[in-house]
Symmetry: C2
Subunit: 443 residues, 2 copies
């Protein structure tokens, strides 16, 4: 039987983990694939150190023998050689980034008749339409299980497993770093800055954690799910993405008071001919399994018309975790010869304005501490036909200036709340010390 040959481009954390698993479990993986799998070539700028770090035979690496570092020209030449090698059936892209040259390499691999497996969520979020177009034109597959939530089989779970369902909504904790930070803020009453420092010290957050804490990384993943679940080709900016940097210790304390915890939630819900989509901190009620997901763990809850609901929980990052997701794509493609996106018969769903999504909300007010404030805001909310659920006490210390309190509502829209806030401000502009925070509540 012909061997199914694999090349890996980029042998950092994830590429190295992938190589490690392919080499260690070659026999069982081949049995699962129904065809002998072989890792035949690895390309990395630093072959010496990559070989050592991941305990991979040095001979598997492309480039001049014994070279510690490959020049840009050597990298380009070796890439070309791999793409031109007809014996290679599948290329794993674990270089990362969204450089045009990388996109070119990925499409060239597909055009050369090779299957492609990638963990590159940023590239997919930006160029998935192009990649799938080239793949389809060449009858080749693009595997991207590793791009969303690491070891959790979200992609194949939706694309190959939950196909008997009609999935109408998704709510997920899809960024481990921000969940780790929020968990520690909740558990230890830390400020955001303190919790971020702790996460960096523990290696859960990068030196530059921008994409983790501003919601950008989670936004990339939601973009991919919007395509997968609803056939929507969205781009960054098509739906609101908020990060966790604005979450305060008072917010987490308030969440606990109403029996909830703050989580960064990737959320999408189909309604009529559209889909509401957002990434932002939400108050998740205890009782919802997402409220129990602590630390760097990820979780994705899918609501289906037929299955009621499914929740997948697991590790969203890590060398072997993400490597195992890449390997699962390799096995699937070697076994079935395809892993294409499913088709969407004439749905043409569009992204709806999240301001009109009906949910319960929490509104956190920072106001002057004078009589009449509660009446002012509750009246303004009532005037917009919003039912109030709870009104908290003042969370600010007695000797501190101003009042910090929160109101939770029954289901209404953010547009309604914004109108209420605007009316209250008009009535008494000086009462508000900060812009009220409006946070959706997930039951």
């Amino acid at each position: 039987m012909k061997t199914f040959n694999i090349a890996i481009l980029g042998c950092g954390t994830v590429g190295g983990g992938t190589a490690h698993i392919l080499l260690k479990q070659e026999r069982t993986l081949s049995a699962r694939a129904g065809v002998p799998l072989a890792l035949v070539k690895i390309l990395d700028k630093f072959p010496e150190s990559a070989a050592k770090r991941h305990a991979i035979p040095r001979t598997l690496f492309a480039g001049p023998e014994n070279a510690a570092e490959l020049s840009a020209d050597e990298l380009a030449a070796e890439t070309k050689k791999i793409l031109a090698d007809p014996s290679i059936d599948l290329v794993v892209e674990t270089v990362g980034g969204t450089a045009d040259s990388l996109l070119e390499t990925m499409t060239a691999a597909l055009a050369a008749g090779k299957h492609l497996v990638t963990a590159n969520k940023a590239m997919l979020a930006k160029h998935n339409a192009r990649l799938f177009e080239v793949a389809q034109a060449n009858g080749r597959a693009v595997g991207f299980e590793a791009a969303v939530c690491g070891a959790i089989p979200v992609i194949k779970g939706i694309n190959e497993c939950m196909t008997g369902d009609d999935i109408t909504a998704v709510s997920g904790i899809m960024n481990g770093t921000s969940n780790y930070i929020l968990s520690n803020m909740t558990k230890k009453g830390l400020s955001f800055a303190e919790a971020l420092k702790g996460a960096q010290a523990m290696g859960y957050a990068e030196a530059d954690p921008t994409l983790d804490i501003n919601g950008g990384d989670a936004g990339h993943k939601l973009l991919i799910l919007l395509k997968l679940l609803f056939g929507i080709n969205a781009t960054v900016g098509d739906f609101p993405v908020l990060g966790i940097d604005s979450v305060t210790a008072e917010d987490t304390a308030f969440a606990q008071e109403v029996g909830a915890v703050i989580k960064l939630i990737c959320h999408a819900k189909r309604e009529g001919d559209g889909v509401y989509a957002t990434v932002r901190p939400m108050l998740v009620r205890r009782g919802n399994i997402l409220s129990d997901i602590a630390g760097a763990t990820n979780a994705v809850a899918l609501t289906g018309a037929n299955s009621d609901g499914n929740v997948f929980i697991g590790q969203g990052a890590g060398r072997l975790e993400t490597g195992s997701a890449i390997v699962s794509d390799i096995v699937f493609i070697a076994r079935h010869g395809k892993a294409a996106l499913r088709d969407y018969p004439d749905q043409n769903l569009r992204i709806l304005d999240f301001d009109h999504r009906e949910m319960p909300y929490a509104v956190i007010f920072d106001t002057e501490d004078v009589p009449g404030i509660t009446g002012l805001v509750t009246s303004a909310i009532g005037d917009q036909a919003i039912n109030i659920d709870t009104v908290s006490h003042n969370l600010r210390a007695a000797d501190a200036p101003g009042a910090l309190f929160a109101i939770t509502t029954k289901p209404c829209t953010m547009a309604q709340i914004k109108r209420a806030v605007s009316a209250a401000k008009k009535t008494n502009p000086r009462a508000f010390l900060a812009e009220p925070k409006i946070i959706p509540i997930l039951h």
Copy 2:
């Protein structure tokens, strides 16, 4: 493009749900499968009432026009016709039971070149080797997602998604009825009999709930997973299966005292060249996500060498829930042409004696209420080199006779504990009012 034609044998709850989904979502399902799917024939003993109950066109049903009930001869003749019809590509078996005649129909369908999808866990637990043998000989697939945990994609999750991993253990809540009963015992302090009555009144338990409460149903599912995860062909009786009928209100109270809840757990763990397997009530510590699974919900936790751990949560039963699992198998087989069990290269794993599985345990003692008892049992336990973790106070009411108390241990084997109990009994035979209960603790 040739249509992929489907016939359903048995249109009860699950068969009817399957038909409903196939008819309602025909266009999206066909798009997912990449080939037009069509439900062309349904066979049921009572076509009139089945058509009405599930809102299915009466014309899809096999047999004499307008017949309210088919005779045994008519059923047999119509079954034959379906198996002989070369236009039918796949047969769904939702008759249920383990009758020889049904097994014959299932193998005949495969031998006739049709794919088979079944929800029949009892049949698979008994005859999976035979079914897969015939399927392989005829190059056809057997889909059985619906046989284990309804809508949760456990089977394809393991077989098609987590293939980049090396799964070493599974712990699952795989019987909704018993979880519903245990949840209510815990939440409301009910006795087993009271909670069972409540479950029957709510429709969560059958009039004859034997297989649910004695662990038999969960045992069937674990048998299927042992085959899938470890390639083991086990049969009922190869591993210990205990039900929930022996769980008392005192047991659930004691569990809460040590920060745990009692769950019926399907458990298997590979060690060396063997696998420990059991179904039995366990104390699940708070912090383990399985402790949060309440009501009739199911959950399966898989431990992998690469992915660390994945948990799948969802609905294990129900008309559309189980129907959606069957439909997902149909889509998968229509799309990929196979859904066979993966191969196991020379593992030859055997089932190990659960008495030698090292875990923490709880031992619940029912003894005379006299001085010296605690010393007697703790000394006997210490003599077996078992470390004691906690000793509870006496849970029995002050005016009731005897003492009911529990000891939790650090990891040890049940064999050690049994030796300790036996030694204590020898020292003071009259001290023990009942056989001590030994319950594993899951962290």
